[in-house]
């Protein structure tokens, strides 16, 4: 069996949508993926612009012990418990990093590396040692299994089945994130650009920071089963960085998450279908592939433009 299966248009692009069973199944996968990309892209835009990409990486690893504790205590995979555990762990992680940075001479990057790997190790150990109680496969944490999303329970309200619980949860996360950004756009913008000005005009800078960390934790938890902790970093970072090669202003960078999310999801799904590999991985690979021409040819700071400017 060769590494790269032969590419047939029919098989890759038409077949997934051929029967109604397949259609509903695959549509749910793509829908979930789009929602994840959109939410992560929105939160990620602020993470990137605040130069916190690696803090985002750290926090998404650091929530693991929180999840483990939530499992052990509540004995179930309930989203509420997971969210609380993840938020507490995420805030603890953030707090430890900042404490170390301000009270010792340890530099910020070393503090980050130290704290999040320790938290992550604690989480993995807890999960492995309580494998009977926790129905979470360690490799699921790392790259997720979005292909199983259609298997999630259905929500029932008043007897009628509304559909996939996982997708509804993700949609709720997306809508609340988007609303948060629209409502608090000014606060986010000013505290990200100039925290002194923000503080002097009464914006609670620390509060905005914590709110962003919570959104980060929430998004990671909601996307965890589908894409895992590491690929979620890809979803945070790639959309805003790709978009910034085209647009000069933040609102447009935020908006371009939407088409990018759709492209990533559809491209990733079909790539994974063709190669028969992890779908989440394929989505991130598509994000990388789209990044390369943007980086080289993009009109706002792309390599070609810079080289031209030098001449």
């Amino acid at each position: 069996m060769p590494l790269i299966p032969p590419f047939q248009m029919d098989q890759v692009f038409i077949e997934p949508w051929s029967t109604s069973g397949l259609l509903t199944w695959n549509l749910q996968i793509i829908l979930m993926s789009i929602l994840i990309c959109w939410t992560c892209g929105l939160v990620g835009s602020f993470i990137v612009v605040r130069r916190m990409a690696l803090m985002g990486d750290a926090i998404s690893h650091g929530i693991l012990p929180g999840l483990a504790f939530a499992f052990i205590i509540s004995g179930s995979l309930g989203l509420g418990g997971m969210f609380i555990g993840a938020c507490l762990a995420g805030l603890a992680c953030n707090f430890c990093i900042e404490w170390l940075h301000s009270h010792t001479k340890i530099r910020e990057d070393a503090a980050m590396g130290l704290v999040f790997t320790s938290f992550f190790a604690l989480g993995v150990t807890l999960i492995s040692s309580h494998a009977e109680n926790i129905d979470l496969d360690p490799s699921c944490i790392l790259y997720g299994e979005i292909g199983l999303v259609p298997l999630a329970e259905k929500i029932k309200i008043g007897g009628t089945s509304l559909g996939n619980r996982a997708i509804w949860t993700m949609a709720a996360v997306f809508i609340s994130t988007a609303m948060g950004i629209i409502l608090f756009y000014r606060q986010l913008l000013v505290s990200s650009f100039d925290s002194t000005l923000a503080a002097s005009i009464g914006i609670p800078v620390k509060g905005v920071h914590i709110g962003l960390m919570l959104a980060l934790a929430l998004t990671t938890v909601a996307s965890l089963e589908a894409v895992g902790v590491i690929l979620v970093v890809a979803m945070f970072v790639f959309p805003p960085v790709t978009a910034s090669f085209f647009f000069r202003r933040l609102p447009l960078v935020l908006l371009s998450t939407l088409p990018l999310g759709i492209l990533y999801s559809i491209g990733g799904f079909h790539l994974a279908h063709w190669l028969d590999c992890s779908i989440a991985g394929a989505i991130a690979v598509v994000a990388t592939i789209l990044f390369i021409p943007a980086c080289l040819l993009g009109p706002n700071g792309g390599v070609r433009q810079r080289l031209r400017q030098k001449m």
Binding site: V49, D194, L197, A199, F247, R249, N300
Partner: protein
């Protein structure tokens, strides 16, 4: 009748970084309408003083009052022009976006920018001669242009007090003259300005009050009284070694600040 509040009142201010004192026992009262230059050697604590007023660093001892209020409440009266190094020039905002940020302080939490706000931003950009660049991303500007953008933002804030940290560093001579004339006209409008400055030669003509700083306040007052050879020598000519040694000793022991002060 209550005495008039000083725009900026600093009492016994002590700030240490990692147990090394940067400012020690500084005492100043700045009157309204002064154009103050802050002078001192490198590492004298000039930027730290500005940061302490702007509530960006917490003092280890003493206090700062802005129109009688604590820094947290009082900074809304201050327009701050930061050092160029501390700004993120890659941020996806245009020149106009930055100046409009100056108006945000006048809106509520959910308020929207009005036509008047935009007009004001336009005028401020015009005053600093940057209107043609309104739609440029801020990274694509020269040093002098960047400085002018932040000055425009400060003007847009319509504050009563302005603090500027080395506004003339890395700026061409033409821009420097332009900025100085804007500052003087702001003073005419009754604003109080405190500027950290690095060049002794020009200090005499730019400012009407001078603060000589070298970890402690050497002198503060009208420029005629303070710009003397003796005081300048004390400022620049090496510190009082015993004084700075003891200040370091005190900074190493945070327990000292906590004790109650005995009456005389």
């Amino acid at each position: 009748m209550k005495p008039p509040l000083y725009p900026i009142e600093i009492h016994d201010l002590t700030v240490s970084y990692q147990r090394k004192p940067v400012l020690y026992g500084v005492d100043i009262e700045i009157e309204e309408g002064s154009l103050v230059g802050v002078i001192g050697p490198n590492g004298a604590g000039k930027s730290t003083l500005i940061k302490a007023i702007m509530n960006m660093v917490r003092p280890n001892g003493g206090f700062v009052k802005i129109f009688g209020k604590s820094p947290k409440a009082g900074t809304k009266h201050i327009g701050y022009v930061p050092q160029r190094e501390s700004v993120d020039w890659d941020f996806p905002v245009t020149v106009m976006d930055v100046v409009l940020m100056g108006r945000y302080g006048h809106l509520g939490w959910l308020g929207r920018l009005s036509k008047a706000d935009r007009r004001m931003a336009h005028e401020c950009l015009e005053k600093v001669d940057m209107l043609p660049y309104a739609n440029r991303q801020i990274g694509n500007l020269s040093g002098g242009q960047q400085q002018r953008v932040f000055l425009a933002r400060a003007l847009a804030q319509e504050s009563s007090i302005y603090l500027m940290d080395e506004p003339f560093s890395g700026v061409d001579a033409v821009t420097e003259k332009a900025i100085v004339s804007i500052l003087k006209s702001m003073q005419q409008d009754g604003k109080t300005l405190v500027i950290v400055h690095h060049d002794l030669a020009t200090a005499k003509e730019y400012f009407d009050h001078l603060l000589l700083l070298n970890m402690r306040k050497i002198a503060y007052g009208p420029i005629q009284q303070v710009f003397t050879e003796e005081l300048l020598q004390t400022t620049y000519g090496g510190r009082l070694t015993v004084f700075s040694e003891m200040a370091s000793q005190a900074a190493k022991q945070p327990e000292i600040e906590k004790q109650k002060s005995l009456p005389l």
